[in-house]
Symmetry: C2
Subunit: 351 residues, 2 copies
């Protein structure tokens, strides 16, 4: 390979050039390429520009630029059931004798969701506790990591972490580039979320909020271990979301994004703050590329939110119309290609 | 005033010069000028250098550089009683009839701490609830702000926020300059702490953990208000500290700093993590400039911590020996001077 004779000087010059002039150039590029042009995309971009332009009357100092995102149905899919429930069901199959009642164990082994749901919250808690209680946080998270590496979605056949929404990944990066801190505020368990949030979304553990169980300090073995208890200390859904945000961040967000009625209190509390605020609802309208559902859905119901959106000036994103891409096909093809290559390599290695 | 003819070009050149060469120059300066030279100061600086030098075997990526600090007795004084209790007592004087029992109200009005403490936790909770419950977080924080502006310490006569330890302010800045995120993990109430932590320590609300009461969502008046309830949801002391940190940050800190046995579990859990970890205890040895207390103190007792420090290789800071300054006298004199000037200005204005 020929080495360019000017490379020694060209690289530092390019760095200086980018440092000096890179930002305006980047600002001209489309920060949200997977979003169709239109009023919703414009509303988001206009808001970010107004709150980050020191000359704007809506300027928000960087310290206060906080954007919160629901996870299930907002950053990744949530049908036919929350992915964390898929984990709990997988781990409750063949649970130790006595962990579940015989009838519940049969329903779990048959993936008979109707019977499980008919048992109410106690059945769900019993199932969840098989995999979520009586172990250290570290042991739980290692097991979730193992599961995520192997498990596949029952409909798409994709790893769950590839069912993140490409337009939302772009929005997260766009906001961080604009000086916003991005946080997750999930109804799902905080320990579960933190296993993949950094790799999947670039959101580190300290920026993840979620539902919590109690923890107990154990000193068995001579060192401190934090052991997950089989109860719910804080349910981070509905009214629980503004409470969790206040407790954790001590302030209202500037931007709140969700997709269901469980996110409405978070969006409402955000919108009611003084100064510029942005509420966004992701409306699942796309039965071809994902699943269309809203007012009648048992998972991710969006009813009150649609009624209130206009009055509160929330941006209601129409997945079918506003998103050019749902999942990142490039990423998927790349991964599949890497998997094929991996298989080829293994075949070669085993010869 | 004569304008220098080269100023137009000199300023940008100075900026470039500082950008290119400023860091090494700063590294030569003493980052902790209020700390006496010695093994304790060296241990802290050596640890920070090792964990931030990419060529070191103890290098820690910036994302994981988390330092947690207790507040009372670690970042500011805590004698003769926690400053938050001073607030609660002030606000419980002349409480509405029925809020406190007659005998407790008398003890409060007389600042009779012995009688109050003899009543146990219920008496303390009753007193605290006069000022801490049944109001919105915002109303509470406004009231704390008003109190901090007016209240004076019974012994020093200083505003409480001027009783922060200058060497610790330097340590916080030094760590942040080295890419550490600095957090407070206080046994005090999180809503109380957040009123002054940003101004006093440069620590924004989202980096403050503390004890919490439950919150309730109220929609009285048509908007969401978060109302403080009169109970304790999470006591952030002792074993509660590692639990709060795990819940909030999802990871062990790299550095933990405290001053009492209530901080020992936090330091222990931090030290037991793999890789480089630093535990620091502030030992109150200075009866001339502050208050000397440790193993027998009812407030800020440090007994187990002193016993375990050597085995766990914690740095035990000797306030009398290691700190050249306790409070920032310059700041105090400056403030007093500003106050005198303010009084002069008022006198002039009223003529």
């Amino acid at each position: 390979m020929r080495k360019h004779r000017f490379s020694n000087i060209a690289i530092p010059l390019a760095v200086v050039w980018l440092s000096l002039f890179g930002l305006p150039v980047l600002a001209l590029a489309d920060p949200l390429p997977s979003w169709e042009a239109g009023e919703h995309k414009s509303a988001i971009i206009d808001f970010v520009k107004a709150t980050t332009d020191p000359g704007s009357g809506d300027f928000v100092p960087q310290q206060q630029r906080i954007a919160v995102f629901d996870n299930d149905g907002t950053l990744w899919s949530e049908q036919p059931y929350y992915f964390q429930l898929a984990y709990a069901l997988d781990r409750a199959e063949g649970a130790p004798p006595g962990a579940l009642s015989d009838s519940l164990q049969t329903a779990v082994d048959d993936h008979d969701l109707a019977t499980i749901l008919a048992g109410g919250n106690q059945s769900l808690l019993d199932i969840v506790n098989v995999s979520h209680a009586g172990m250290s946080v570290e042991a739980f998270q290692n097991d979730v990591g193992d599961w995520l590496a192997e498990a596949r979605h029952p409909v798409t056949g994709l790893p769950y972490t590839e069912m993140v929404f490409q337009p939302m990944l772009e929005l997260l990066v766009y906001l961080r580039d604009a000086g916003y801190a991005t946080y997750i505020v999930s109804g799902g368990g905080v320990d579960f979320m933190r296993v993949f949030a950094e790799d999947a979304y670039g959101i580190p553990p300290q920026n993840v909020m979620g539902s919590t169980g109690n923890l107990a300090v154990s000193r068995e073995g001579g060192e401190i271990t934090l052991v997950k208890q089989g109860d719910i200390a804080g349910l981070d859904d509905g009214d629980g979301k503004p409470i969790t945000i206040q407790r954790t961040l001590g302030q209202r967000p500037i931007i709140a994004v969700g997709n269901s009625d469980g996110d409405v209190p978070m969006l409402t509390w955000t919108s009611e703050g003084s100064g510029p605020r942005l509420g966004v609802l992701i409306h699942h309208t796309d039965d071809a590329r994902e699943v269309a559902y809203d007012r009648e859905s048992s998972i991710g119901k969006l009813d009150q939110g649609l009624d209130e959106a206009e009055q509160r000036q929330w941006v209601v994103v129409d997945m079918a119309e506003d998103w050019r891409t749902v999942y990142d096909q490039t990423l998927n093809e790349q991964t599949q290609s890497e998997q094929s290559q991996g298989e080829t390599a293994r075949h070669e290695g085993s010869q």
